[in-house]
Amino acid sequence: MRYLPHTEEDIQTMMARIGVKNFEELFPTVPRDCRHDEAMALPPPHTEWEIDAHMEELRSMMSMGAQGNVLVGAGSYHHNIPSIIPSLTSRSEFLTAYTPYQPEMAQGTLQGVFEYQTLTARLLGVDVANASMYDGASALAEGLLMALRLSRKKKKVAVSRAVHPHYRDVVATYFRPTEFEVVELPFQEDGRTDLSSLSDISDLAAVALQSPNFFGVLEDLQAAATVIHAQEALLVAGFTEPLAFGLFKNPGSQGADIVCGEGQSFGIARSFGGPGLGMFGCKEQFVRNMPGRLVGETVDLEGKRGFVLTLATREQHIRREKATSNICSNQGINTITATMYMAALGGSGIAKLARLNYDKAAYMKERLAEAGATLFAAPGFNEFVVEFSGDFSGAHKALLQENIFAGLELGRYYPELQGRYLFCVTETTPRAVIDRIVEEVKK
């Protein structure tokens, strides 16, 4: 087998040195009754080409192939990925390295992550960003737990219902065995979170909003921050579409204390939902309460700049049960991917690309409004919820036949929004496809 270099002769030589006669004798400490009775029930070994063929078959079981038009984001976005990204991230020095425990031998990863932390902090408007969390959902859960740690005695957090429903599910999962309570905040008719009930909630450590929220609507974070801070709670600002910050104010500048969300938009393929990139940042003063790894700048013994993992005393391998999180492996190479993307776009490019997303979404919204559809009133970025004048499900099905996934029906997530659809339009959505959908709506 091509991955196993051992020849019969090698095995004999090695066994002789060890002093065993066969593989049986290599495992003397494994009790008989702990062993597999039979060979594992697995498919036979495949050649590379059998694997290719098998995977091709699986891929062919995806009616919406790679060429389909998916007008759904909802936490997983279709943006163009420049070909330099796979060429560079596939360099084995990055890809086949472990966590940079030996910094002198891993300066590539370390400088790369330091750059990620920096560009992410600049993007989100926070003082510090960590070296990543698993995804936007777990980042939000950890952000709320961090806020509770910072508040010391408080026991409640409030989460907007306009936060991605899956993220709220994950928060619920993380909170279930704890003593903490999660209160949900309703949303208004315009698609923004209704903060009016906030002042009724006592013992509140933090409020989580997402902007753009699940409906694609931009929250008024600044106003929210004022209210939340007045209640001595922290604003935990989530996001699923960081491209928005190429055009709109970032959460840090609006007063968010902890910012956490999903960075998949930045050069990472949708890949059926993972691996993505949990982005996580906060204000300087909270850094020692932050979960996750951090890379810091330092000098070597000759005074030369270099980078190391730092502030590890927050982490599980030092602090064990007292750690700020249990996270160890994170999203690694995807931080490098996202940084490459941010670097390739540049400040000028991200503004331009964000604007293009905005304009295209606006175009579709306008066409739909003309066709009689109703939209949330608050401004948004590249996603929006559509209420059709009639039943859209037939049109949705018809469009699926044309390989157009025209929006996500919201009934499963919000019974009260049954029949409304969440759309996403990015730079990848051809105008012709938008027009085609509008045409179908008009029918």
Partner: protein, 485 residues
């Protein structure tokens, strides 16, 4: 050292990204707009992030150069204990990068993504077959995430039995993620001191286990590279008190096709696909940490469950006992694809061989280096062996010094100072990927480093010297943190 693979060559300096570039450059195509410009909500407009503007070649050279400062499994031997740095097959990368996979949106209607669901369903079954467990969820994004999911299953199980449990037994050899994950579920870790033999003794468990204790987290093989021989007795004791047995399966690479974990009495287990199942570590991730359980506990697994209804692959959401979601979608799907491809390539027989050879390699290193390095537990080891720097202490040469010297010799060092119970630990896990000749050179080089420790200890203390930077000041980094530019 003449035979050591390490040598010196040209690398290129490279500044930080924002130390290069000039406004107006660009490194990526942006399509021209084909729609009219829309009006903007002025009050929400930002200035846009302060990113440098670079041309495409700037980005390419930046990362090409950075990569040259790194060392991966493809570069050379990486015997980092507990991390299973085996070969990461290129064919797996090809599968994960296929457009049909990368373009799949996670919220596609089920009938549109049967291929992806089938892959997950089959991978669940394969992992069940390999571990002996009954049911698998692929959602956790890493080992620690799998531990968390497992601890949530513990909590849900006890809750379902109206049993309040506040403690959990965790051996002192455990990886830090174990107590941290347990703590996230509100469990207070009770430390189990591993015995003289480096493994848990049933009598200790008997003393510690009670009805306020949720169960035990065992790593098997443990982080000393030893098989927990008493696992069945221990499991029985834990079960007797109504507890559950968790197994950290990060070291599964020693026992594939050999150990059936259900037969060991394990109730919940996580795997690290980025170790045992050959997916690349990516300098820290992403990984995948599937959680495997007995049939009894299946109902607690995260939603959605991927199932087959006889006709089609389906996602099951309506599972009232489930711990809920732990990931926004289905976990690190791209990593799952790689592991699936690996299992297909190997089949049952080769996976078993992989484990046999992994153990053979570790035992060979153990036999070859003992005497040169102090071996705290001279017992049959599994896929890794733990030495210490005890024999070098009189020359004031530490594990760290030897590790840094090995770097100059062209090796990634073993894991050092872990497990914590062994002072100055040097944990070597060669994996099955290394051939005999390469192991022999490694052994020879390590022996020579030991000799140097004796004869020229300063050489070791001044290592490494072949890299872009010399030893880095980690204390200053932590004291005055500079975490961004």
């Amino acid at each position: 050292m003449k035979n050591a693979p390490g040598d010196s060559g040209l690398i290129l300096k490279e500044p930080l990204l924002w130390e290069k570039g000039k406004k107006g450059r660009n490194g990526m195509s942006i399509p021209e707009s084909d729609v009219p410009a829309a009006s903007l909500p002025e009050d929400l407009l930002g200035e846009g992030p302060d990113f440098p503007d670079l041309s495409e070649i700037d980005v390419v050279r930046h990362y090409t150069r950075l990569s040259q400062w790194n060392f991966g499994v493809d570069t050379g031997m990486y015997p980092l204990g507990s991390c299973t740095m085996k070969y990461n097959p290129k064919i797996n990368e090809k599968q994960a990068a296929a457009p049909g996979i990368t373009a799949a949106h996670p919220l596609l209607p089920e009938e549109q993504c049967q291929g992806m669901l089938k892959l997950m369903y089959e991978l669940q079954n394969h992992l069940a077959a390999i571990t002996g467990m009954d049911a698998v969820s692929l959602q956790p994004a890493a080992g620690a995430h799998g531990e968390l999911a497992g601890m949530l299953v513990f909590a849900a199980y006890h809750r379902s039995r109206n049993s309040t449990r506040t403690k959990i037994l965790i051996p002192d050899t455990a990886h830090g993620t174990n107590p941290a994950s347990a703590a996230l579920c509100g469990y207070r870790p009770v430390k189990v001191v591993s015995g003289r033999r480096g493994i848990l003794e049933a009598s200790d468990i008997k003393d510690l286990m009670d009805e306020e204790t949720a169960g035990i987290m065992i790593t098997n093989p443990n982080t000393l590279g030893l098989f927990e021989e008493n696992i069945r007795e221990i499991a029985a004791l834990v079960h007797e008190k109504g507890g559950l047995v968790y197994c950290d399966g990060a070291n599964m690479n020693a026992i594939m096709g050999i150990v059936d974990l259900k037969k060991c009495g394990v109730d919940v287990l996580h795997l690290n696909l980025h170790k045992t199942f050959s997916t690349p570590h990516g300098g820290g991730g992403p990984g995948a940490g599937p959680v495997c359980v007995t049939a009894e506990l299946e109902k607690f697994l995260p939603v959605p469950r991927v199932a087959y209804d006889g006709d089609a692959y389906v996602l099951q959401y309506d599972r009232p006992d489930s711990i809920g979601r732990v990931h926004a979608f289905f976990g690190n799907f791209g990593v799952l694809v790689r592991a699936y491809s690996y299992i297909l390539a190997m089949g049952a027989e080769n996976l078993k061989k992989a484990s046999q050879y992994a153990v053979l390699n570790a035992c060979y290193v153990k036999e070859s280096l003992k005497g040169y390095l102090h071996l705290p537990y001279n017992r049959p080891c599994m896929h890794e062996v733990v030495f210490t720097d005890k024999l070098q202490q009189d020359k004031k040469v530490s594990t760290l010094d030897m590790a840094k010297r090995l770097m100059d010799c062209g090796y990634h060092p073993p894991t050092i100072y872990f497990p914590l119970v062994v002072s100055g630990a040097i944990m070597i896990e060669p994996t099955e990927s290394e051939c005999l000749e390469d192991l022999d050179v490694f052994i020879e080089v390590f022996k020579n480093v030991v000799k140097e420790a004796d004869e020229k200890p300063d050489l070791l203390r001044a290592s490494p010297t072949r890299f872009k930077v010399r030893r880095l000041d980690e204390t200053q980094a932590a004291r005055n943190p500079c975490l961004r530019g």
